[in-house]
């Protein structure tokens, strides 16, 4: 595809990695929406999935493990007119950065969070992700994790996210379409992307997911939070619904802040003079 985000950088993912599909879908979605490269920033965490931004010619702030969402928060505070995509994997978003997910969702920050979920850590070679089954065994967990897997959509729904979806890299049309909707959505949008790891997860393989995923039935009411929460309480070992669980129009982060109306702070900063403090001096004079 001839696209303005095309980059010469070749991602160092294993051949067949689900992240290649995510990258293709994202490029397509951005092109379809005609979003200019200068108008969006990718805030990335650390991990294999987080490296996706290097393969696009775009603005990128590649930060620390777990901290893509706080970076996104700061980006939107300085320039609320930027489109911001937070991109990383299950370990980054759901383990190291779990606290940020709760609070960014409840603020309804206008950011698109793309979480690559393969239930395993790739970069550190095969440890259990928070989404792994209790019986999933690794070198660290030879007896299984013994812990209930997190369901990211359920957490996001309960925390206040206003766009919650799940996708599978085996269905790129659905993933692209969800990305387009998520990027256009005003508010916190999560797509938990099931992107099988071919090297370190020999259980939850492409075929394993393929057998269990199914698109949400047409009669699901996407504007009904209770129905979405009901939908998100599936057994992840048995059947996994993909598609848009929930979408709602709610005030986004900053709507109550005068500082975040109109021209962005980044633009206004260019004209600031020290005199802006002058009016405050009277508060301290007798």
């Amino acid at each position: 595809m001839n696209c303005e985000y095309e980059s010469a950088f070749v991602p160092q993912w294993c051949p067949g990695c689900g992240n290649f599909v995510t990258l293709d879908c994202l490029q397509t979605a951005l092109c379809n929406l005609n979003i200019k490269a200068r108008d969006f920033v990718i805030a990335a965490g650390i991990g294999q999935a987080a490296k996706l931004g290097f393969s696009l010619k775009c603005n990128l702030l590649a930060g620390l493990h777990g901290r893509a969402l706080p970076l996104a928060m700061g980006l939107k505070m300085a320039n609320h007119q930027l489109k911001v995509l937070a991109i990383s994997g299950d370990g980054c978003f759901y383990a190291e950065g779990g606290n940020h997910l709760l609070h960014t969702a409840r603020r309804n920050l206008d950011v698109t969070m793309l979480a690559s979920d393969n239930r395993v850590f790739g970069l550190t070679k095969g440890q259990a992700a928070p989404t792994a089954a209790a019986t999933f065994t690794t070198k660290v967990h030879p007896e299984g994790t013994g812990a209930k897997p997190l369901e990211p959509t359920l957490i996001a729904l309960s925390a206040g996210a206003t766009f919650v979806a799940k996708a599978f890299t085996g269905n790129p049309e659905e993933l692209t379409s969800l990305m387009e909707k998520a990027i256009q959505h005003k508010g916190f949008a999560l797509i938990d992307i099931l992107a099988p790891c071919i090297s370190f997860n020999k259980v939850n393989t492409f075929a394993w997911f393929k057998k269990r995923v199914h698109s949400i039935s047409a009669d699901h009411d996407q504007n009904n939070l209770a129905a979405a929460i009901e939908l998100a309480q599936f057994d992840p070992e048995v059947t996994i619904p993909t598609g848009l669980y929930y979408q709602a129009k709610k005030p986004v982060y900053g709507r109550n802040k005068k500082a975040l109306q109109g021209e962005s702070i980044a633009i206004r900063t260019q004209n600031y003079k020290p005199e802006r403090v002058k009016g405050l001096f009277a508060n301290y004079q007798s």
Partner: protein
């Protein structure tokens, strides 16, 4: 010390010590006195024992003193606790019921029956004792009343306001006309003079510098910067957020800085600990950021409302790896304003994390300062890349001789900007190539070398002398005043004031410190942290250290006693 008086107001938490002090401060400022007000709080909401010192003078003040001229004790315990520090010619003001067992001619008691009906008994104690003090000082009761009306008319009922004003009138007439004691110095009213605490100075400096985003998690004693900025955020267009933790605070501030705002965060030592990893990210991503550390008693939770200067070596080294950073420690409230503003220029110029190191003693001390001169503040965003013809990746990490590469901001420019916490190549793409790593690492470290060379030498006061005292931050005020007294007593002693604590300008420091045979540090810590840093980075050798770890600030008397012990006065 002669041209000043020291008032102590003491009582239990919840008895209104702080509101009495706030009121007294405003009255004395209006009357035209210079002030230095310090608080000694316990970390609790009710009970316990709190006291505050209000020192006033016709000269600028930069330190607290121990000995008391006027003690206002709101209960008996406070009277007994502070009487030992009351000067022989000092006076204590108490309600009669709080001094029934004491025979001391310095104690002036106020019968519970004095005052309007609504204020009789042990209520309105703060206002009553303040009235007594102001009558004694011969201050204008009109200023006192105006101040109360201005401060409280919006906050309390008209009836309550009237009771306060009537209380002042009745107490003023209760005492004989010859009661006032004439001060040996005169007030010099200056309407533009300001009364600010250290944190307010810092917040005002940040605003003058053009701060756009401040993100923090509340932690004593840093929180008032968050409060000031949040308070004027809507009016001035500053986005302020109380985020979920200090990790988010610094990461969000870095996101904001990358996007083009001037951004900062603030906390105390424990919160800075949580920021450690992101401080390194600022280093390798070369994102300008200002980090305010209001030091408090440490380690871990320490003593929440007590002071210390023990974070210096921590912030000089915090985060793994080698990368440039800058530590600035304002020595007083005036510098807190100008240096906080300058911190943003230095952060932008060198594209590094800049620490403003303060402490609880400065944060909570109210000091009178002359109105800040905005002519002395400039805004310099550093090197910005010229616009390209079309969307291109910026060589954000272009290798240059001084290590500084031009910046641009997303959407504000056609440049596309990649900033990366991995080692990266010139366009910000992850790379572990050997030559690239060496070039990028050396480029960053060259900034440290050039930055160090640009920093001023410490100011030396009181030379020539054989002996030199080194100090920084909140310790500077009491050291300077004590040294002046010490010299007036016939001793030789010089003082070096350090505002730029890291990196150290080796050449300049060695040169100005060369004339002194014996160099001592006075710091609010155990180990003499600036002395250690100087010995690591320069050929300066430290003879001895005066430390303090009890969480209380140095008073002038504390320092004087130590001079005598250490230097043999």
């Amino acid at each position: 010390m002669s041209n000043s008086r020291n008032i102590v107001i003491a009582g239990a938490a919840g008895q209104g010590v702080d509101s009495a002090v706030a009121l007294a401060g405003k009255v004395l400022l209006k009357a035209g006195f210079q002030l230095f007000i310090t608080a000694d709080y316990q970390s609790r909401v009710r009970g316990g024992h709190n006291f505050m010192r209000i020192r006033f003078s016709d000269q600028p003040l930069l330190a607290a003193v121990t000995s008391i001229d006027y003690l206002l004790a709101l209960n008996e315990e406070s009277l007994l606790l502070h009487l030992p520090d009351l000067k022989n010619d000092g006076l204590a003001f108490v309600m009669a019921a709080d001094a029934t067992n004491l025979k001391d001619q310095r104690i002036i008691t106020l019968p519970a029956t004095v005052g309007p009906k609504a204020a009789q008994g042990t209520t309105f104690t703060g206002i009553k004792l303040l009235s007594l003090l102001f009558v004694k000082l011969g201050l204008s009761m009109a200023i006192f009343k105006q101040t109360i009306e201005r401060e409280f008319s919006q906050k309390i009922s008209q009836a309550l306001l009237k009771t306060n004003l009537d209380t002042i009138s009745e107490i003023a007439t209760f005492f004989a006309p010859d009661f006032p004691q004439v001060l040996d110095f005169a007030a010099k009213p200056e309407p533009r003079r300001m009364l600010v605490n250290g944190n307010e100075s810092i917040a005002l400096g940040m605003i003058a510098a053009g701060i756009g985003v401040y993100t923090a998690y509340p932690m004593t004693p840093s929180t008032s910067v968050l409060n000031v900025l949040a308070g004027c955020g809507p009016q001035l267009g500053i986005a302020v957020e109380q985020v979920e933790d200090e990790i988010a605070a610094l990461n969000a501030a870095l996101g904001a800085s990358y996007a083009g705002a001037r951004a900062a965060t603030g906390s105390s030592g424990a919160g800075i600990c949580l920021m450690a990893e992101a401080i390194g990210m600022a280093g390798i991503c070369e994102i300008p950021i200002v980090i305010f550390d209001a030091q408090r008693s440490s380690p871990a939770t320490g003593m929440a409302t007590r002071t210390e200067q023990a974070d210096l070596l921590f912030v000089a080294h915090v985060s793994h790896g080698d990368f440039p950073r800058l530590i600035i420690a304002p020595a007083n409230h005036t510098e807190s304003f100008y240096l906080s503003a300058e911190a943003f220029n230095l952060a932008d110029k060198w594209q590094i994390p800049v620490f403003i190191l303060s402490d609880q003693a400065q944060a909570s001390a109210d000091c009178s300062v002359e109105e800040f001169d905005l002519e002395k503040v400039s805004i310099d965003r550093g090197v910005i890349a010229a616009e390209p013809q079309s969307n291109e990746m910026l060589r954000r990490y272009e290798v240059t001789e001084n290590g500084i590469s031009a910046r641009a901001f997303p959407q504000l420019s056609q440049w596309l900007i990649s900033s990366d916490s991995h080692e990266h190549n010139e366009i910000g793409q992850v790379s572990d190539d050997i030559d690239n790593r060496n070039r990028q690492h050396q480029k960053r470290m060259r900034k440290l070398k050039y930055l160090a060379a640009s920093l001023p030498a410490p100011e030396i006061i009181g030379a020539p002398a054989d002996k030199l005292i080194i100090c920084w931050g909140s310790t500077v005020g009491p050291v300077l005043e004590a040294a002046e007294i010490f010299r007036a007593q016939g001793n030789q002693l010089a003082v070096a004031i350090f505002q730029y604590l890291y990196p150290l300008n080796r050449e300049r420091i060695e040169k100005v410190l060369a004339p002194f045979n014996n160099i001592y540090t006075i710091e609010g810590n155990y180990s003499g942290q600036l002395g250690k840093l100087l010995q690591m980075e320069t050929s300066v050798r430290i003879t001895g250290h005066i430390g303090k770890t009890d969480g209380r600030l140095f008073t002038v008397e504390d320092v004087l006693q130590n001079f005598s012990k250490l230097v043999g006065g």
